[in-house]
């Protein structure tokens, strides 16, 4: 049994190195005020760039990104909570076709499609605007939300709803008082993941929004391409905060079925 413990220890150390190695270079770069090779560590260390980042356009990008993510999350929930329930419970006509359409964006590369969607959005006068970015985020968010909401409602036993109906509750009241209440933890978990998705979305934002709508991932990309490595690294660290918080706080609630499609978008 001790051999297993040793192997497990080695596994933890190796995994920690592999996972934290790349991330730790972000931390070092974020405080590097002067760093020329061949020095292994920065010659001068300080928080100069942190102050600079928080006074610059980063804050604006953060605000725009959060605004977009809030709208996207709210719209996705309003549209997919009822839909998830319907798909989980009833024999909807063309159900297979509906599910197929919601599977397409997961199965095909997004960039070529979004590039063509951008043409339409510009024609509709929404290119380079927040409204266009919200719409393009909605595609990924809706697909993700429909699948998780359906899974959430499927996991609630039908017998509880039947009990409510037998006691004289209407369908609507049963949905409101029984199904929705029981689904709440799942809905909250997937809402947070939708929020995170929108906050981190890069491809669609770059195509539709650039150069007028700037969110944190695009801001970070610009900084990194411009070799402003400290600025890019600080932004990268900030971008990781919501995800890390979510992982630490909600680890127990994040079931594999919510995460499996999340990891791809």
């Amino acid at each position: 049994m001790t051999r297993v413990k040793i192997v497990r220890m080695i596994l933890i150390v190796v995994a920690a190195f592999v996972i934290f190695g790349p991330l730790s270079s972000l931390v070092i770069w974020s405080v590097a005020e002067k760093w020329f090779w061949p020095n292994v560590l920065p010659q001068e260390v300080g928080l100069f760039y942190w102050g600079k980042v928080f006074q610059g356009r980063m804050v604006q990008a953060l605000e725009v990104g959060v605004l977009i993510a809030v709208v996207v999350t709210a719209l996705s929930l309003v549209m997919t909570v009822p839909l998830g329930y319907v798909l989980a419970r009833f024999n909807v006509p063309f159900k297979a076709l509906i599910l197929l359409i919601f599977m397409l964006p997961q199965a095909f590369p997004q960039l070529p499609v979004f590039a063509n969607a951008t043409v339409y959005l510009y024609r509709a006068n929404m290119g380079g605007k927040v409204s266009g970015v919200i719409l393009i985020h909605m595609v990924g968010a809706l697909v993700y939300a429909v699948w998780t909401m359906t899974a959430v409602f499927k996991s609630i036993p039908v017998s509880l709803e039947e009990a409510a109906i037998n006691l004289g509750a209407s369908r609507l009241r049963t949905f409101w008082d029984v199904s929705l209440r029981l689904a709440l933890p799942g809905i909250v978990a997937s809402a947070l993941l939708i929020f995170l998705y929108s906050l981190d979305e890069f491809t669609g934002t770059l195509l539709v929004g650039s150069p007028f709508v700037l969110t944190l991932p695009v801001f970070m990309y610009n900084a990194s391409q411009g070799y402003e490595l400290p600025v890019a690294s600080i932004t990268a660290l900030l971008l990781m905060v919501p995800g890390v918080v979510l992982l630490l706080v909600l680890e127990r609630y994040l079931k594999a079925e919510y995460l499996s499609s999340f990891g791809r978008i």
């Binding site: 292994v40 599977m103 680890e251 990891g263």
Partner: protein, 273 residues
Amino acid sequence: MKRLREWGWVLVAVPSLAVVVALFFVPFVRSAITSFQDEAGAFTLDNYATAYRLYAGDVVYTIFVSGVSLLMVLIIAVLVSGFIRIYGGKWVEFLFKIPLFVPFVVVGHAMRVFLAPHGLLNSTLAQIGLVNLDNPPSIAFTWVGISVALAWKNMALATLLILGAFESVGNTYLEAARNFGAGWFRQVKDVLLPMSLTSIAVAAVLIFTSMLASFSIPMMIGTGKGAQMLMIDVYYRIVYQQDYGVANALGVVSYITAMGAAIYYLRSVTKRG
């Protein structure tokens, strides 16, 4: 009456369907159609000829880079999941979940500074004498950098899916194998792996498509010259040359590559019901 109510349920789907159809399905079809059109709108195969002439190598390169990453990811995930399934390992599992919550762009940037010629990895290795910093190997701006970054990001998803599959294998099977003297590796190879082959195939397809379609990671750590990942070609073709014809032809090539994978995925999903 019942019919009417069923159609009422379809109404609930209309808003979501409208968004996905208008911004995914229609542009998807448009990209396929315009790939066969010249600038005047007449039918032509020129776009494909140009795409073949300029980018055939990049298609092979993309499949190669994705394939290598996928192989890395699968081997690591199967071994790690096998270990966790048999001996337990909450911490290992937790660590392997982290990349799922790190955005793609951040992975790209982090790997870029980590694997750069004078990045943290080479500096660390130089401390123990494995790397000569006067002539450091560059991983970041080669295909290896893209492969490593893609593997890093997808390791989490692979472990999640494969561990899930392993966990649904009953304990009795493992006990039976142990009774016959099977060690750790034999239990993974002869019990866990064959019993979760479908799930692993689905995971492999999902991850392969995602790697093939990866854009932000190769944007961050890709090379400026030489072979490119397919999505970078599509992007540059549109942004710098406004050439939607060739870009869409490349897009169609990427759909077809992904479709081979998707058909398999759809079949196994519908089979599970």
